[in-house]
Symmetry: C2
C-alpha cells in the first residue's frame, strides 16, 4: 500500500480541490465547504470519504445531479424542529446548514431536531455531529440511503447501510466521535476484497441463494465492480436482528419522516435527521465534560482482552491519524493522483505543485 | 417448559399484583401502574420483565430502596427539555411521568427530551416508547444501568447492557417497537444457561482470563447465581466495536447528562433519556404512517434467507403473543406461583382464585 502512494501537502490538496470545484461551477462557499469536508476525512484517515469522492461530485455537477449556487430552504419551522429542502445542492452544504440550524434551536430550547430531503451525498456523518460537540452539545446524525442491506431473515437488500453518528463533548479537545453503519460492514469493504480476489469473513453478506457466503462475488450482479454496483445478494445487518431493527428505525426517521424516501425511492444522496442536545440545559457543562472524561478513563484503564494492548475510544484512531497526517501529509494512491491530473487538465486548473 | 407452567387469567393476575403492592405500602396509582407494566410484559411474552420482577420490587419497598407515595419532581424545565428527579419512587411511575412530559413538550415544540435520575428499575423500555407512538409520535428511550459489559478490547465490565427502545407509529394499530440491549445478549440468558448446566454460543461473554468462553460459569464470581450476580468476566458488546460505541454513548446520555451516574455509580435502577418526536411537525401523520406501513410491507415481502419462513417486524412477535395470551391466559412457572403464594400469605392477601 505504502509503495503505491505519494504523500501530498494537506493545504495544497485543499486548495486544488477548491479550484476544481470552482472550475466545475460551484460557488466559493460550496467549494470551500466540500473541499474542507473531504480534507478532514483524509486527514483523519477515512480515505473512503476523502478526495476519492471529489470525482463523483464533479461528475454529478456536470450531469446536473448536484446543483451549484444553491441554498437549502427551510420548508417547515417549529420551535425545536425544522424540515430542510436541500434542493439538490451539495450534500455537504445542506448538512452543514441543517446541523447549524439544529444547534441554534438547541441553544434556545434545549434540543433541536432537523430533517433533510432532496439532499445529495453528505459524506462522513461525524463531521456534522462534531459541530454540536464543539459547542458543548451532544450531536446525533441519522442517515438513510439506497438499499444495500437485507432485513434479518431476508436475502434481498431493502434497507440502506443507514449509518448513525453521535458526538459527545469531553473535558479535552477530542470528543467521543461515533460513526458507524448498521450493517456488519460497509459495501466498500466487500468491493475491495472482490477487486483483490480475496475471501471475506463469514457473516458479512448473504448470497442470492439465501445463504451467507465468504465469496464477495456473491454480493454482485453484472456489470460487476469497478464498473457498477448492482446487487444479487445483500449485506447483512449488524448483529442480525438488532442491526436490522436499527436500520429500519433510521429509514423511518431519516427517510420517511423527512420525505427523503426509502427502499430505492431515495433516488440518490441521503435522507437525514440531525439532532443537537444542549448539555447545559441539563447539567453544568464542566461537570458533564469532566464526568465523560472520567468515564473514558475508566474504559481505557479496564484490563485488556487477549490480543489487545489498548482500548480505543470512538474517534481516537481518527484524531491520532489527524495529528500524524497534519505533519506528514496525506498519502494518495496512484489512481487518485491520475484522476486529479486528469481533472486538472480537463478543468484547466494548475496542480499547484501538489506533486513536488 | 409447558409441563411446569400453570396458565392464569390476566385480569386476576393484574388484580393480585395490585393487592400485593397495596399491601406492601404502594399508593393506588403506583400499584396500578406497576401491575399494568408487569402484566403487559407477560402478555407480550417478555416474561423476564413480567410478574417475575414483582418479588424484587416488594423486597425493595421493604428495604426502603423503593419509596412509596412518591411523585417525581421536575428539577429543570426548558421549552423542549426537562430533568426529572425520580426521588427513588417506583421506576415505572417515574418513567411514565417523564415520557408523558416529553410527549407534552413535543406536542408544542416538535420534540421533547427528558432526562431522569434517582430512578429505580423501570422494566421494559418499549412500554414507554410506545406511549409516544400511540400519540402518533416517534418515541425513543435510552437507559443505562450497572456495569455488565466489557468495552471492546477489555475483559472487565465497565458499561451497562444499556438498552434502547424506538417506537414508530404505523397505519395499523401495531407500531414498530424496537427494544434491544447493546450487548450481544442480556445477562439473564447466560444465567439461564448456567443454571441449566448448558454451554453458551461463542461470542456472548469474555472470561476473567481475557478470552471469549462458551462456559457460562466464566461470567460469574461467588456467590454464584441464583444467590448472587457477581461478575468475574463480562458480557460482550453487540457486534464488537459498534455495540461498545453505542453503550458508551448511552452511558453519556442516560447516565452522565442526567446525573444518574455510570460505571457502578448507578447505585441501582436506571438512568434514562426519553424522547418524543411529533410526526406532524414534519409531515402529515397519515402520509408518514402510510409510508411506514409500506416500508414494513416491502421488508416482509422480501425473498427469505435459507431457514426463514417469514421476516418479522420489531414488535411483531410480542403483539402476536399478546393476542394469544389475552385469550388463553399467561403461563406461570411453578417457582413463580410459589412466590405468589408466599407473598400472598405474607401480605395477607387473598389469591383471588388465581389458580382455579
Amino acid at each position: 500500500m505504502k509503495m503505491d502512494t505519494t504523500v501530498v501537502n494537506p493545504e495544497k490538496l485543499y486548495r486544488l480541490s477548491i479550484k476544481l470545484l470552482l472550475a466545475a461551477g460551484a460557488s466559493a462557499f460550496e467549494s470551500r465547504t466540500v473541499a474542507r469536508h473531504l480534507l478532514e476525512a483524509n486527514l483523519q484517515g477515512v480515505d473512503s470519504h476523502g478526495i476519492l469522492r471529489l470525482f463523483d461530485y464533479l461528475k454529478s455537477v456536470e450531469r446536473g445531479e448536484i446543483k451549484t449556487h444553491v441554498s437549502p430552504r427551510i420548508v417547515k419551522n417549529g420551535k425545536s424542529v425544522a424540515l430542510v429542502d436541500g434542493r439538490w445542492g451539495f450534500g455537504q452544504t445542506t448538512a452543514l446548514f441543517s446541523m447549524r440550524l439544529a444547534i441554534e434551536k438547541a441553544s434556545k430550547s434545549g434540543i433541536g431536531s432537523v430533517g433533510v430531503f432532496n439532499c445529495n451525498h453528505v459524506g462522513r456523518l461525524a463531521y456534522y455531529s462534531s459541530l454540536a460537540s464543539e459547542k458543548h452539545m451532544i450531536g446525533l446524525v441519522f442517515a438513510n440511503a439506497d438499499p444495500f442491506v437485507a432485513p434479518w431473515g431476508g436475502r434481498i437488500a431493502v434497507l440502506g447501510t443507514n449509518p448513525l453518528s453521535i458526538s459527545i463533548p469531553t473535558a479535552s479537545a477530542e470528543p467521543i466521535a461515533i460513526d458507524l453503519s448498521t450493517s456488519v460492514v460497509p459495501e466498500g469493504k466487500v468491493r475491495t476484497a472482490f477487486l483483490k480476489g480475496d475471501r471475506i469473513p463469514e457473516g458479512w453478506i448473504i448470497g442470492p441463494n439465501g445463504e451467507t457466503s465468504t465469496n464477495p462475488a456473491d454480493l454482485y450482479a453484472p456489470p460487476l465492480p469497478p464498473e457498477g454496483t448492482h446487487l444479487s445478494g445483500a449485506l447483512l445487518p449488524l448483529g442480525g436482528y438488532k442491526g436490522y431493527a436499527l436500520a429500519l428505525a433510521i429509514d423511518a426517521m431519516a427517510g420517511v419522516l423527512t420525505g427523503a424516501g426509502f427502499d430505492g425511492n431515495v433516488t440518490r444522496g441521503n435522507g437525514l435527521m440531525l439532532q443537537a442536545i444542549d448539555v447545559r440545559k441539563f447539567i453544568p457543562v464542566r461537570k458533564f465534560e469532566k464526568q465523560v472524561s472520567e468515564l473514558i478513563r475508566k474504559v481505557k484503564e479496564a484490563p485488556k482482552a487477549r490480543g489487545f494492548d489498548e482500548i480505543l475510544i470512538p474517534g481516537e484512531p481518527e484524531s491520532r491519524e489527524r495529528k500524524k497526517r497534519e505533519k506528514t501529509g496525506i498519502p494518495l494512491t496512484q489512481p487518485i493522483l491520475r484522476k486529479l491530473e486528469e481533472s486538472s487538465e480537463k478543468y484547466k486548473v494548475d496542480m499547484l505543485g501538489l506533486l513536488k
